[in-house]
Amino acid sequence: MASTSNSTSSKIITLRSSDGEVFEVEESVALESNLIRRMMEDDCANNIIPLPNVTAPIFYLVIEHCKKHAEMKDNKEKKKELRSQGEELLKSDPHTYSNLMEAVNYLDIKSLMDLTAQWLADFLKGKSPRLIRELLKIKNDFTPEEEAEILERNRWAFD
């Protein structure tokens, strides 16, 4: 489970995902989320904190990445690893990627917001609009005239 096995005497926070699963998380990890921080400041610190917008598998991923991100701070290798894992996820499972991004956004975890945004940005970088559409399964909803006009206005970038 996602509970921590660390022996430090840090406080444990209990959280419940939208599908009813209960997570025990170290306070230091939980506080990465500004949403949880605000909730704890308000009152419900002693109770189970409900997270109605996050499913268990996604929450598991979030905690995982919070920990990895903390480790990565002074480790270039880890940083690289995390980036390539992100690209993998994006390619193999775009649904999970966007769920993760939404959850991170909802939980308001700044470091992971940047990290997950960077994944997609890295993925888009250097690719043609056509390839981006193909890989992300996005429909071209421009009329040919509109597309020609955008191309004309921004010709310098397409050369």
Partner: protein, 373 residues
């Protein structure tokens, strides 16, 4: 909301990408990590991307989070006979990607245009309008432009155009200077107040620096002068000098100034092998003057195998700014480029348009989407 639980169902071809369902904030954050060129490319992926990437809130975020795209723009070569379409194009080099970019300028309603300077993402060009040369400010990325008031004198277009980040413009000619500030919206005329023609004037934040020859007709003697933009025409140029500098201006043949990184200026020229009058140059030297401490230091020296291409040239053009300095000369056919980031980082830049006969001049152009003329 979640329906994709349980066994993995193969995505339908018509399934819209989950990326498109991300909230605006997330999309803004993602795209703000992209370089400018990729942002432009992404605009043509789909309507949602276009809408997101042109929204004012995204453009604001972008201007806060990302530095502009720093390019080295070329000034069009002089053509005495006006060819078919003189220059409806700005040619600019991206040093990071080693790539030439072409910005069309035919959105400007003038017969011919000639880019001469840039500041804060805006391009300044001479344009032909009603038999007059006028300065035009434009952003080639957003295709917006504005005319500055007419200058009133035909010779002014031979002057050097300097532009401050706040949009003040100075046109320096042999004997006179024209000053324009956006707040007054008209030109003021001054005598240049220097002993001789100011050589390679540059603007560092709000101060003009120039070299001036105070020597005799037989022997040139270069000195550095400065004048605050706000004081221009009201107070004389100030000679910048320190006893400790010694003969720093005598080391270089044909010195030129280039705006350096931060509060510094660069001076480049032929490195004289001896102080004698007709000494030959052993290479090209770049010195840096720290303006806070008023101390000179060596910044770069052109490798000899590169210098041999410039050795025979009588006409050397130096331009750039910040981290980049470019050298161009007749018959070299390419640019020698120096980057201050790495010590001794010199490289050739190929692909300069033209036949190699012409000499290139240019300026730094910081491309950005939010610059408003």
């Amino acid at each position: 909301m979640e329906t994709n639980k349980g066994s993995e169902s193969a995505p339908q071809p018509a399934d819209p990408s989950p990326i498109l369902d991300l909230p605006d904030d997330s999309l803004h954050l993602i795209f703000s990590h992209l370089p400018l060129r990729d942002i432009i490319l992404c605009r043509s992926v789909c309507r949602l991307f276009l809408q997101t990437l042109t929204s004012p809130s995204f453009l604001l975020l972008l201007s806060l989070r990302r530095p502009p795209l720093r390019l080295l723009a070329l000034r069009p070569a002089h053509h005495h006979s006006s060819s078919s379409s003189p220059s409806s194009l700005l040619l600019a080099f991206d040093p990071d990607l080693s790539q030439w970019l072409r910005f069309p300028l035919h959105f400007l309603p003038f017969r011919s245009t000639s880019p001469v300077a840039s500041s804060s993402g805006l391009l300044y060009l001479w344009a032909d309008s009603d038999h007059n040369k006028t300065l035009v400010v434009c952003n080639p990325l957003t295709r917006s432009f504005r005319l500055l008031p007419p200058l009133g004198s035909a010779w002014s277009r031979h002057g050097t155009v300097l532009v401050s980040p706040s949009g003040s413009v100075l046109v320096l000619t042999e004997l006179a200077a024209l000053f324009y500030s956006p707040s007054s919206n008209h030109w003021l005329n001054f005598s240049s107040n220097l002993a001789s023609k100011p050589r390679s004037p540059i603007l560092v934040s709000d101060t003009v620096f120039a070299l001036c020859d105070v020597g005799s007709p037989w022997r040139s003697q270069w000195k550095l002068f400065l004048c605050k933009l706000s004081q221009f025409g009201r107070s004389p140029w100030e000679r910048v000098e320190k006893h400790e500098w010694g003969d720093v201006f005598d080391i270089l043949k044909r010195p030129r100034l280039i705006r350096g990184r931060g509060n510094s200026i660069l001076m480049a020229g032929g490195f004289k092998s001896s102080p004698s009058l007709n000494a030959s140059c052993s290479t090209i030297l770049i010195l840096r003057l720290d303006l806070d401490r008023l101390e000179w230091g060596e910044a770069g020296m052109m490798p000899l195998e590169m210098f041999k291409w410039f050795q025979e040239s009588s006409k050397l053009k130096v331009f750039g700014g910040g981290d980049w300095v470019c050298f161009s000369a007749k018959r070299v056919g390419r640019l020698a480029m120096w980057n201050s980031a790495g010590i001794g980082d010199w490289r050739w830049v190929d692909g300069v348009d033209g036949n190699g006969e012409s000499v290139c001049r240019g300026f730094v152009f910081d491309a950005m989407l939010t610059a408003l003329p």
